[in-house]
């Protein structure tokens, strides 16, 4: 533990700003370069940083794998659900104008926000999941052989 003291302190300071930055990129996807993919990767990077510095058990206590599975699935569901809903209301698949029949521009905004949310969920959850899967396997080779 003494070896990693500085790393742990700095990581504790930095994880919240990284997550905040991911939220900023997600919400500002319509105004500046950004959007769901970038925000998802940055959010996953924050959790992976926590897992790298504090250990996999601590990361899995903070963000359990079952929660990550649920987030990954709900991302695709939100995205496809927007399309199916607009089809059920009367338009075509992924026709955002139907989300707000009186003001189509508001419907477009709402559709884009929902869709980017789905992208954020799926991308961040997949990255965290792949990290958990790789880091969770026991190493078949010893420390000295590496």
């Amino acid at each position: 533990m003494r070896h990693h003291l500085i790393l742990r302190i700095i990581t504790k300071l930095l994880i919240a700003p990284i997550l905040l930055f991911a939220l900023y990129v997600q919400v500002h996807g319509e105004i500046s370069p950004g959007g769901g993919f970038q925000a998802g990767v940055i959010a996953a990077a924050a959790i992976i940083l926590y897992g790298l510095v504090f250990g996999l058990e601590a990361a899995e206590r903070a963000v359990p794998p079952s929660f990550v599975h649920g987030i990954m699935v709900s991302g695709v569901l939100i995205y496809a659900g927007t399309g199916v809903y607009s089809m059920a209301v009367g338009g075509q698949f992924l026709d955002y104008d139907q989300l707000d029949p009186h003001y189509p521009v508001h419907g477009q905004h709402l559709g884009i926000v929902l869709v980017e949310l789905g992208v954020l969920f799926t991308v961040s959850a997949t990255m965290i999941l792949i990290f958990y899967a790789f880091a969770g396997r026991p190493t078949p080779i010893g420390e000295k052989d590496w």
């Binding site: 070896h3 500085i6 790393l7 700095i10 300071l13 930095l14 700003p17």
Partner: protein, 113 residues
Amino acid sequence: MIGTAADIASWLFIVSGSAGIVISALGLLRLPDFYTRLHAGGVTDTFGAELLIIGLAIQSGVSLITAKLLIIGLFLFFTGPTATHATANAAWVAGLKPRLAERPDERPDGDNP
């Protein structure tokens, strides 16, 4: 739009930041030992990039861009030395010892704390 003094100041910062990065790259190539190369490599993150960011912040006046640049500068200020420390710590724990000068009269065992 921006005064000549601000232009000269930002030019000074950007040039010195770039010179710092070039010197650090030179040191990375030429220094003999891992720990000395780590000294040189850490200069890029904290000295070169910070001066560049300050120069760019002066160039863009008082605006949102300056605020974003200063936040990035603060982030680099924290993570640059941490990365250098993490690398040195990993090398030390793995067993790599720095190459010290041989002084048979002062250090009989050649060990270091």
